[in-house]
């Protein structure tokens, strides 16, 4: 599971106000006043944003001690824990939304984590770096080494990201475990959403990040 320092290292586009664009997008997918669990909440930027802009009752789980202590000192309801091991302790339907922002690729069992998210919450919001982005593909194809980008700044030997996937892979996983994709957005490197009517292959090639709103199929 990712820690707050990962996001400090990764250069993710920010709005004029200084907020990460993917977080703004995630927050817009959450209904006002909802009960939200942010898994891998880092230093609490998203929880803070959700509280301020959407009047959300937010809780967080974070692996890094520094992240947790910073969140709690800010007055956020955050506990120290691990997405891979601790989601099982939450009861069914405990939240309206469970959010996993830029953390999926750092979990040991992404599929299990995703299944837990949709058990605990009626909706899930997942954002992740797209490993199918053209800059990633070109680095492997022509330079012959593991890709390093602004959003994935690590060397292969010290990266916390152990389960990379492409937007296409993620859609496939959603279909496999019977999850309904309510809404999907791909962001380019500047943080602007790609054309909504573009085909999946286009997103998979030009989207640097994918942001998905999911719900149970039933």
């Amino acid at each position: 599971m990712a820690t707050m320092t990962d996001f400090n290292a990764a250069k993710i586009a920010r709005t004029a106000g200084g907020t990460r664009v993917d977080l703004v997008l995630v927050s817009q997918m959450v209904a006002r006043g909802a009960k939200v669990l942010d898994v891998g909440c880092g230093d609490g930027e998203l929880l803070h944003l959700l509280g301020e802009s959407r009047d959300v009752d937010g809780r967080g789980i974070e692996l890094s001690r520094e992240g947790v202590n910073e969140c709690v000192a800010k007055g956020l309801a955050v506990i120290q824990g691990d997405a891979d091991t601790d989601l099982g302790d939450y009861p069914d339907d405990a939240f309206d939304y469970v959010i996993l922002s830029q953390t999926l690729q750092a979990t040991r069992h992404p599929r299990v984590v995703l299944e837990h998210m949709l058990r605990i919450g009626r909706h899930a919001v997942v954002s992740f770096p797209n490993f199918g982005h053209w800059t990633v593909r070109l680095q492997l194809l022509f330079a012959g080494h593991m890709p390093q980008t602004d959003i994935l700044p690590y060397s292969w030997y010290d990266t916390p990201n152990i389960h990379h996937c492409t937007i296409k892979d993620f859609v496939q996983l959603c279909n496999q475990i019977g999850v309904k994709i309510e809404k999907a957005v791909a962001l380019n490197a500047w943080g602007s959403p790609l054309r909504l009517n573009a085909p999946w292959w286009f997103w998979n090639l030009f989207g640097e990040q994918g942001v998905f709103l999911l719900s149970r199929k039933d």
Binding site: C71, V72, G75, A77, G81
Partner: protein, 400 residues
Amino acid sequence: MVDNQTAADLQTASDLIVRDADHPRDSLIATFGADKPLKLDAGVSLSPFQIAYTTYGTLNADKSNAIMVCHALTGDQYVAQVHPVTKKNGWWETLIGPGKPIDPARYFVICPNVIGGCMGSSGPASTNPKTGTPWGLEFPVVTIRDMVRAQAMLLDHLGIDTLFAVVGGSMGGMQVLQWAASYPERVFAAVPIACATRHSAQNIAFHEVGRQAIMADPEWRGGRYHLEGSNPRRGLAVARMGAHITYLSDAALHRKFGRKFQDRENPTFSFDADFEVESYLRHQGITFVERFDANSYLYLTRAMDYFDLAADAGGTLANAFKGTPTRFCVVSFTSDWLFPTSESRATVHALNAASARVSFAEIVTDKGHDAFLLDEPELFGIVRGFLEGASRARGLTAKK
């Protein structure tokens, strides 16, 4: 350990303990008469009884800024003022005071001595109204729930409906959890630090060793030492020495003392306190008996042993907090082996299962269980931030 010269002083100290048990210095006292008995878990009632307490700060007009601070096993109500017996600073002045996370300029702080204690709340060293002599073992066995029940009566007595927060560490943390379980509507925020929802077998075992040390002292006289003019100070000191080790950690003891000799270059090949750590523990034992009643130590350790919130809630811990409106901030310390982080984590899991609003932080320190009483800036930052957030939600401070 206690030489003859100080023995005479300590006998006087024993008399002072009896005096303080009825008439504590620098304390307020709430008395509950025959019309307000304290119903105990043991199935009997305590009546009349009294609670000694201190307060700091001012209660606001709508009585919404009260914080109750619960003390640990050997603590008392002198949380933020000089102790009348030891003349030392209050035991939690690191956390409570001007500019501190719990600032009396903003909050009305109440710190009661627990029932069963020996600093003015009814306990085994208090005078039994029926006999006019100290209760001794005639005093009924009390539980953590009884302590909290008495504190709730104190709150009624003060005309306060809801506490803004209940804060405490160790046995104080147990009281915090009991407050949240017994009176969820009366607790807006709860800060249980370095504690658990039940006392572990290992901790019961340590307590039993302490109690046996007291009861093995011939001066204990079946608990009637106050009546017979004796004082089981050796037993109590040994109990304290043993317990004190559990409050520290191997790393902290090594850092503080190592294998250093006390005021000597070489071992004396005797059973003197050659090592600094021995001398330190003996000092802890001797100073403790000046201010604490041996029977009280038996009663309070017993209360902790009996503590098991899950058992009270039909075996499922989460049920103890079902539907709770209280917000929690659970804190543990990495080197605490008396109440290890796993215990706090179990509390947090139960609170999550109960859908409670909970924060949980583990603080890295080598100071062991005692860390909650020491200078731990991270603890202060967390408590301050949590209370700030809660006070905004409570409307005590304007929202940003």
